[in-house]
Amino acid sequence: MSEALSVSSSSQHANDQRRQSVKPHKKRWRHDNWMGYLFISPWLIAFFAFTFIPIIASLVLAFTNYDVLSPTWRWVGLENFERMFTRDPRYIKSLQATFFYAFTAIPLRLIFALAVAMLLNTNRRMVAGYRAAYYAPSIVGGSVAVAVMWREIFGRNGLINAVFGTDVAWLGNPNTAIWTLILLAVWQFGSPMLIFLAGLKQIPREFYEAASIDGANGWQQFWRITLPLLTPIIFFNLVMQLISGFMVFTQAFVITGGAPLDTTLFYALYIYQRAFVSLQMGYASAMAWVLLIIIAVLTVLVFRSSSYWVFYSSQED
């Protein structure tokens, strides 16, 4: 990076110098590099203090029984990992809840995002205004305030019960609670929508013109032109959403707290509960590392599968 910077910023004068001799230039480069690291040192410090060192610490903790309050802790080997899969029914439930959520909410959100993106990919008046309006939920959607609002909407005296005249405990019923969270996730379709929209704008008009001359209807155009040309965008969105889907926390933490019957006990929420409520840092760290492995494996699978369904137009050339 710093090399690129120094090249791009170098003036004609510098180029002359380079031609004259190599040695002074090398010295200069070294100096720039040094300064560069110094300038990004605030970032480096924060990275080491808040990311790198905690990551290493959690890896070590995963093999201990560290519980925050006790001054001492013990090396327990693989006990934490063994406990997860053999002696913790709640862990299995949290896996079920997370997988169910990820495999329902993510496809629904992507489908919805694509549908709205196609609606907005027209040249009607006010389309920019709609774009901003539809993107807004994603900006605020992850926030605590929206989660609190959601809880009120689905509360006993909330909007849904008032509008439909029902008296359903949406957040207390094991069959409905997770769907309120999935609905919230689908509503936050804004960022994949924007990416889809950008992708749609890349598709050349001529393809559609040619297709309609050949008599293809809208539906055929969508399946034969739009979707294949959009697969790289779908792929990107899928990977990003998959990763964030497995790390969902705020919504469940605020709206349901994992209840009822642990049907909304998402993985990250359970890690939080074990770490900061039960203070079992070792166990929670072990869970976090298993989550990393789960996400990594799923991401690799999606990447591997991409050669079968992702279509890059450049390959055709």
Binding site: N33, L69, G172, A259, P260, V277
Partner: protein, 446 residues
Amino acid sequence: MRHKFWLLLAVLTTIALVFAACAPAAPAAAPEAASQPAAGGDGKIELRIAWWGSQNRHDRTIAVIEQFEQLHPNIDIVYEFAGWGDYWTLMSTQAAGGNLADIMQQDYARLEEWVSRGLLAPLDDFVADGTLNFANVSESSLAGGRLGGKLYGVNLGTNSMTIVIDADKLAEAGLETPNPDWTFDEFERVATELHEKLGIYGFTGNLTNEQLWKNIYLSLGQWVYNEDGTGLGYEDDQPFIDYLKMVKRLQDAGVTQSREQEIAAGGSVETDLIVTGQSAMTYVWSNQIVALTSAAGEGRNFILLPMPRPAGGASANYLKPSMFFSITSQARHPKEAAMFIDFFTNNVDANKVLMAERGVPVSSEVRAALEPLLDAPQKMMFDYIASIESSVSPIPPPDAPGHADLINNVYWPLVIDPFMFGQQSAEDAVRILREEANIVLAAAAR
């Protein structure tokens, strides 16, 4: 390669400098500082206090802190407060960082865990030298703060659980006020009749709460945990099975809210349906009566009764220290901390601000001074505590170190909820409780 070495050195030096700049904030070398009035540059002592509670409590406590600062201009008090759940997360994190406040509010359920980890300091020296003056405090009020013969927490108020009955609904249904020594059978009958005659909930308030489980065994002269906190302290599961079956009957008959609705509603005194007249009875801790009645508004009449007991049992109530002030072992100014706790306990003016918000004060002098100032709900609370004082069961030992883990990871998710949602029988629920409790409690006590 040499420039890389210098680069690394520069980065490490910068990191070291930043951490060095942060270091004074982390009181790793605190112990020596305790005796010297260090801290602020102007020679002021900085005392840190932490508590949990509602906005009402925050306002009152801060006002008392200001009173204390005026009396002791050399002491500067820094305070932090939070709600119940966040408070314990905050305190645990501070404890791990060696950065605990001087005074922290403690709870009877957590006291043993914190003492067993060496995080609280014994207060007996301050009692001996008179910094903490308990001349007007009875031994029974202090007993809850003693562990292994040493005092680790000063009781800030006395509390007990109570059934709140809407007197007007009771009259409307043509029912007599039950006796204070009522049993669960009578309770079930009254709740059911209230529901059937008035068409409202007979009882709201969470009957599956672990407090009720504890009350049952307390009433039978036992305790839910064994002496060393490694397992359950009772052999006979039948009383709890009978109780769970009663709770399920009440739920299925619509006398109480379903577990579904309970979860969806969340728990807070102000949102209890008795407030809006949609329920005839509930239960609260006695200090919450003030919040409940003020939420219910003017013109309401409530009766307070002790908790119902299993047939043949003794009182299911005990006098619980509502909360404590403890001095932490990481405190920099334990002496000044003790002075503040003494002020909080004994000073009449301070207690006129606090107005028994944390429960009935332990000092008899303070109680006498507050008596004429009490409004109706506060008087109800004082009278209720006075009325049960002579008949309550003795205070049980503090909860086992594994209590919180057991409740969060076993009691609710594996025992109560599957039972209330009809996924397992009462017998299975209780069997799972016993099996898992022995594992969880033994692991925590280790």
